[in-house]
Amino acid sequence: MTLVDLVFRSMRKNIRHYYLYFFALIFGVTLFFIFSTLQFDGAVSGETDLSAKMTSGFKAATVLLFAILLIFVTYANDLFLTRRSREIGLYQLVGLTKRTVSRMLIIENVLLGAGAFIIGIGAGLLVSRLFLLLLLKLIGYEGTVSLSFSGAAFSQTAMLFAVLIVVTSFRMFIKVRRTKLIDLFNEDKKDEHPKQPKPVTSAILGIVGLAMMIFGYWFANSKYMLNAFLLLNMLMVLALVIVGTYLVFRVTIGWILTLYRRSRNGQIGLKGALSVAPLMHRMRANAKSLTVITTLSAMTLAMTGFAFSMYYSTGQEVRVGTPHDFMFTEREEANEPLPEELAGQFAKSLDDAGIPYNEQAITYVHTIGMFNGKHFPEILELEGRTVDVLVFDWDQLNASGLETEVPAKGEAVFHDSGLSWLLTDKTFPFDASLQSGDLKENFRVSEMGDRQVTSGYEGVTTEFVVKHDSYMKLKDAAPPESLHTVVGFNLKDKDDLKEASKLYQEINPGNTRLDYYLSYQDAISYSGIMIFITGFLGLAFLASTGSILYFKQMSEAEQEKRSYTTLRQLGFKTSEIMKGIRRKQAFVFGIPLLMGLAHSIFAIKSVSIFFTSGDIRTPVAIAMIVYSLIYLIFAVFTVGYYRKTVNDAL
């Protein structure tokens, strides 16, 4: 029997342990290859006119993917090596040299890797079209794009694989070289012995861990977060939460379980014997990997939740900056006709095309304001400073087809997408006095509108909407240069937007301007790429964290097999044993998931201020539910593996 025969035999025997690893590996290669193809394929980026955004996005994605694959593969490989230490020991016992054994393992590794590589590339070629169609759909591109085999993508993937195989083979070589025969035989039993934790130390550290996490959460959403040290604060929160998580896994959970166990006074029953006891026993050793898994989960969840929210609320977000479908404004630099004149041309072409619309000239007053309120964020330094404020007439806005909050008499509604994310409900109401010419008027600013009412001119984004008579007073007092007019168009049927956009761009063609439709297309293609990349990266992360947990549980099941045998001999039924095991799995999978969810919820909450348009709970909830469901599939697999182990135990 040659060495290669031996390799094939042992691979056939170990296929049961390998298949999930193999699958995850193939998935990684496929994804890597597809991202790489999309990154290099000139046709795609050229025809979709997204080259810059896309290429950099996919480049970042391939780097991240490479990192996660490297971590995952080395980790899984180490686990398998430990599991097979007996086998490795046996080979040496029957006289194979360490050199031969490591050569054998390396051949096996290369074969496995090459298999995954070939299947992965094949699958990548097959499904890359599907991916491309999905991507094009997400970015709202209509039309066909062909995709060809990319040599550059192939060689990049091959390089990734070469690195993976070299790294893992090297680790195998070192491992075989370093171990003594006797250790190899003992490896399975070389479990850390259970220890009684020191009560005082673990109580203190346990509480500190929890406190760090909670403090991190609180701080991230407190008023102390947004100041000149924002970046430093963010790093601090990150450190607090990660160290806190580690301590919770390493100490807190064990400490709480110890208290529970002590209260049971020896009577922990079968369920406890199969869940609480082994959990406590392994928590210390597993703390590091559980922290990594939790952090990765939180990262994935925050990333996909954020991207999905962005995609989901693209329309609303674009409306914030582009409230009217089309708009004509004064533009000094271009030496072009007055807005009213251009609006006339546009109105005519809309009429010719038979598109119904609202048209309204909106004249606003440029005033100088002073704000006086108790609850402005420090970072704004608004106290005693003057601010440019544009004042609008609610009646005019309403006539243009824009729906905004109605101001009461003597009150103003505040619109400012540049500031709104910093202000909270507590900021309102506040007082403002506006200076227009020689006239000074006081307003009570009652509430905040959710967007601009025009798209912020002259670098001024602060806008007040007031009642008609207040507006007239300010307008009459204002010098002519403080009065500006824009013309807003809003279509009655939004399906006409695309056609109207074409007409709009034809007005004074040398001088392009953005309309809602174009901004939306631009934004949706951007967030479409984001959701595409984060979605699939998230899947890759999920597949690797889930597999790592599965592998860990697989080896725990093997280690505990003897206990199951004993329990079966003592007369416990498989169904009774499985109850305890299910409870343990609920902890093993549930705690990282719940903590990951909590972390990501707070992370998203603290960045949700960037979503001016309001509610992102729905998209975040959808992303989280989908993630949790896929994650739970791994838990189900694991329980299945345990059931088989328990059944075979007697």
């Binding site: 012995h193 259970p194 020896g266 006891a277 026993h281 004993t566 079966r568 416990f572």
Partner: protein
């Protein structure tokens, strides 16, 4: 409970391993009766089928043919789930390598079988104190198995076997991993429990010293009963001599005698 105080009855028990074409018969029709309160030792050379017999009688393994009754119940006809419940309620086990759960303390290990029985917490605690007292492991109750000696581990294992007040205890080489002093002390305790609490014990051993504590020793050879010895009123020393004599004829394990 049953006539003549019989606790275990085996008729024509056979056990084969391997496929049908290539079956190897390990037990070749064994008939055995054990009375309530007996301390039976099973001896025989390696490969005689001692452990197989114990496993089959103890319902851990099924016989290929033959009938086994324990406490009047036909165990060979029970389903798996019934067998599990029967083992838990009626039988106790002591193994050569203790088979304690590493992650449980001594007390938790001992109380494990009581967890699914109807025993109240208070009753379980009282039972634990009682048995741990007899076996002398009360002081080690909150220690983990790796923190105590082999003898103490085996006492823990014995306590676990006794916690549900079983009708019968099966012990497979309980002294196999112990030094002679711990072995003697454990056997003395088992004998004590057998006398005072009237627990029926069946013990597989290849050690004539261990079997000299029994009230009866059954010898197996090549899967069949070879002979048996009753201790009667003999002193342990005299019984030990008798056992050695049978072993000499039987051949095999003599060299193992300590």
């Amino acid at each position: 409970m049953q006539q003549d105080g019989l606790i275990l009855e085996a008729h024509g028990v056979r056990k084969s391993f391997g496929s049908k074409q290539n079956a190897q018969e390990v037990l070749k029709g064994i008939d055995l009766r054990v009375k309530e309160g007996e301390f039976v030792g099973i001896m025989g050379p390696s490969g005689a089928g001692k452990t197989t017999l114990l496993n089959v009688l103890a319902t851990i393994d099924r016989p290929t043919s033959g009938a086994i009754r324990i406490g009047g119940q036909e165990t060979s006809k029970m389903k798996d789930a019934q067998l599990s419940t029967f083992r838990r309620d009626k039988l106790g086990f002591i193994f050569q390598d203790y088979n304690l759960l590493d992650t449980l303390t001594v007390k938790e290990n001992i109380l494990l079988p009581a967890s699914l029985g109807g025993l109240s917490k208070k009753a379980a605690e009282a039972q634990f104190q009682d048995i741990a007292g007899i076996l002398g492991i009360t002081d080690h109750a909150s220690k983990y198995p790796h923190e105590i000696s082999g003898g103490q581990k085996q006492r823990t294992s014995a306590a676990r076997a006794l916690i549900n007040e079983p009708s019968m205890v099966f012990a497979d080489e309980p002294t196999g991993a112990l030094d002679s002093k711990s072995a003697a002390s454990l056997l003395g305790t088992l004998e004590d429990i057998n006398h005072k609490r009237g627990v029926t014990i069946m013990m597989v051993t290849h050690d004539p010293v261990a079997s000299s504590y029994c009230s009866r020793v059954v010898f197996l050879k090549d899967g069949a009963l070879y002979s048996e010895l009753y201790r009667g009123d003999k002193s342990p020393q005299a019984f030990f001599q008798d056992i050695l004599n049978v072993q000499a004829v039987l051949g095999g394990d003599r060299v193992d005698a300590r």
